[in-house]
């Protein structure tokens, strides 16, 4: 089980490595919009041809998130979402046929509360392939990275435009699965365009590691994805998707499926 999960990211990125548009990694907050919507949303993302999916385990004080993901998390918590339940939503999606890689994104305090070892074990058992913790810089990450690694779960660190290249190399040495490249100095949330600093960061990452690069924070439109062709292997799209789900009616899965297809630049039949 654990060996298989560690390989899902490698296989997914290898399959997409044809020099085309970056693959899409949609982000959904567990328990948003409703407590039972997460597994169906993950399956919808898979149907739409996503490279992988990211599931946010909501935290009361999400420092790295902008207003959209904050309010989605708040709503999920008010409806009773917990870390254990969020993890079990992924297991439920796996049972229903989810085969794409899944990364869990959360903050360090819920992980410490569950216990690092218990959290890593629960992720592995549920079929979570990687973990992203945005408030855990490399200086603090050794314990979690080791536990995740022992369970065959990738520790996926973040680098930002302010990260010096020497530090990117140090961060990359702790990474598995892919490197999460933050496109802006700022929080999550849809932006108008992709910044030159993001393209510079992607080049600097490539100069120190061969790991796949996923660009996130601010990516929201098909033209952003198009413009990133050749610059990174995947993009993470969260706030724009949650905004579409929040304003789009009572079938979140259909909205997500259409949204991801549009980002991929393929029609409803693609």
């Amino acid at each position: 089980m654990t060996a298989a999960t560690a390989g899902r990211f490698e296989a997914a990125f290898a399959a997409g490595a044809a020099g085309g548009r970056p693959g899409i990694i949609p982000y959904v907050t567990a328990g948003f919009p409703g407590p039972d919507d997460t597994a169906p949303l993950l399956l919808a993302c898979q149907r739409a041809g996503s490279l992988a999916a990211e599931v946010g385990i909501p935290f009361s004080d999400p420092l790295a998130d902008g207003p959209t993901i904050q309010s989605a998390g708040w709503r999920a918590l008010e409806q009773g979402m917990t870390p254990a339940r969020a993890i079990s939503e992924v297991a439920r999606a796996r049972d229903a046929g989810l085969t794409i890689p899944v990364a869990a994104m959360t903050y360090i305090n819920p992980v410490l509360t569950m216990g690092i070892e218990a959290f890593a074990g629960a992720c592995a058992a549920a079929g979570i392939d990687g973990v992203i913790v945005p408030d855990l810089p490399v200086e603090e990450a050794a314990g979690l990275a080791a536990s995740l690694g022992a369970h065959g779960v990738a520790h996926i660190p973040l680098v930002a435009p302010t990260t010096p290249t020497s530090r990117v190399a140090r961060v990359a040495a702790t990474a598995a699965g892919f490197i999460y490249c933050v496109s802006v100095t700022g929080t999550t949330g849809a932006r108008e365009s992709v910044s030159p600093a993001a393209l510079d960061l992607l080049e600097r990452v490539r100069s120190v590691t061969a790991l796949p690069r996923a660009l996130g924070f601010g990516i929201s439109r098909p033209e952003h994805v198009e413009a990133l062709t050749g610059h990174c292997e995947a993009v993470v799209v969260g706030s724009a998707l949650l905004d579409a789900i929040a304003s789009g009616g009572d079938d979140p899965g259909a909205i997500a499926e259409r949204f991801v297809r549009e980002l991929r630049g393929v029609g409803a039949a693609g």
């Binding site: 420092l63 254990a84 903050y107 360090i108 305090n109 408030d135 990260t163 933050v182 100095t185 929080t187």
Partner: protein, 396 residues
């Protein structure tokens, strides 16, 4: 976990990657500035010629008589310009930010005292100043909100979460992540990621350094007990630090018990929390079984915070300081006693320390001395006190 920036097992720097270089830059600038006599001279100049230091040590004469025990002495941080100890830190950090070439200053505030202090210093230097404040605190502290406007700062209301200090701090950190190139974030307490707890302690330790010197001059002796209120804990660290090596001096921190620890409506992190990470530091934290940070309550906005500075957690583990609690009601009664017996209107935060000082003075008995950090004055709290006190209590 690494040992950099740790107090025992507490502290650290749990922040988004974007901020890591900024914290490293801040730490380097801090070490360089604090080793530069010119910087220390500049800071002292502002503390003594502008802020009004040194602050006096005042014997609370009638309160001491009423308690019938140890003498109660007040370290008068309420007399610092802007009305609280917060200016000590705001001056130090803004001077440091100028030295680093930062042109924009942001801060969070709960009671508004730190926001007013930061706005004040920014006015002195013509710096842009943005203060984040929870919507609920804006309602409770209207006077300070107006003052910040007068001083030229922009107050940005925060509507997320519990709309208090915790959420204002989140929003300030998000602003800093976004504007880190030109902005310095002036944290108001000994909380946050390394190097902030160390930096703020350095700028607040003047309280205890002065008090210790004054005690020796005045009494030829040290106090038996030093008492201070603890929200994030900057005035407490400020007065404790000078006495850490004086093993016979008991150090007592007072957390807000709100409506009572048993009601769950309180802000006593050390008393009723367990270790976790909030605002970039590992320390005691009020949180639920799933690691979500709990809402807190205290009648005093400055203590209404679910975390506590990491050094307090370490001092408690090492049994160098002990931490007790005081309810809203006990603090209010001490507030009124100090008004009527000493002619001093204390901040509600400081009233928590006073209540415990009265308790300890009775226990210690005559011949001893209790030193209380009177961290701020209570003008900002008049509306709160008027709203909760019985009709006759204010003027009886």
């Amino acid at each position: 976990m690494t040992t950099a920036g740790r107090f025992g097992i507490y502290g650290g720097a749990f922040v988004p990657e974007t901020l890591v270089p900024a914290l490293e830059e801040l730490e380097a600038a801090m070490n360089e500035a604090l080793a530069d006599p010119a910087f220390i001279a500049e800071l002292d100049g502002w503390l003594y010629d502008y802020a009004g230091r040194p602050t006096p040590l005042t014997l609370a004469r009638r309160l001491t008589e009423a308690c019938g025990g140890a003498e109660i002495w007040l370290k008068r941080e309420d007399l610092v310009h802007t009305g609280a100890h917060k200016l000590n830190n705001a001056l130090g950090q803004v001077l440091l930010a100028r030295r680093m070439g930062k042109t924009r200053i942001i801060a969070e505030t709960g009671a508004g005292q730190h926001g007013v202090a930061t706005a004040t210093v920014c006015a002195c230097f013509g710096l842009e100043c943005v203060v984040y404040m929870g919507r609920e605190d804006i309602r409770r502290q209207a006077l300070n909100v107006y003052k910040m406007g007068l001083l030229g700062a922009e107050v940005r209301p925060v509507d997320s979460g519990s709309r208090t200090l915790k959420d204002a701090t989140n929003e300030a950190i998000r602003d800093w992540v976004t504007n880190v190139e030109n902005t310095h974030y002036v944290i108001g307490s000994v909380v946050g990621p390394h190097p902030y707890p160390t930096l703020v302690k350095r700028f607040q330790r003047v309280i205890g350094d002065e008090a210790r010197r004054q005690a020796l001059q005045r009494w030829g002796a040290l106090p038996d007990t030093v008492v201070a209120c603890v929200g994030g804990g900057s005035n407490a660290i400020g007065i404790f630090t000078a006495f850490l090596e004086d093993e016979d001096v008991e150090l007592v921190g007072v957390e807000a018990a709100g409506r009572g620890i048993e009601t769950g409506e309180h802000a006593a992190s050390l008393e009723a929390g367990r270790p976790g990470v909030l605002h970039g530091a590992y320390s005691y934290l009020l949180q639920d079984a799933n690691g979500q940070v709990r809402e807190t309550h205290s009648i005093s906005a400055g203590l209404d915070y679910p975390g506590v500075g990491p050094e307090h957690a370490a001092l408690r583990d090492a049994e160098r300081a002990r931490y007790v609690t005081c309810t809203d009601g006990e603090a209010l009664r001490s507030f009124h006693r100090l008004c009527r017996m000493e002619g001093i209107i204390p901040a509600l935060e400081s009233s928590h320390a006073l209540a415990v000082a009265e308790r300890l003075a009775r226990e210690l008995g005559p011949g001893h001395r209790v030193l209380v950090c009177l961290s701020g004055r209570g003008d900002k709290d008049i509306d709160t006190v008027r709203a909760v006190s019985g009709a006759g209590e204010g003027d009886s």
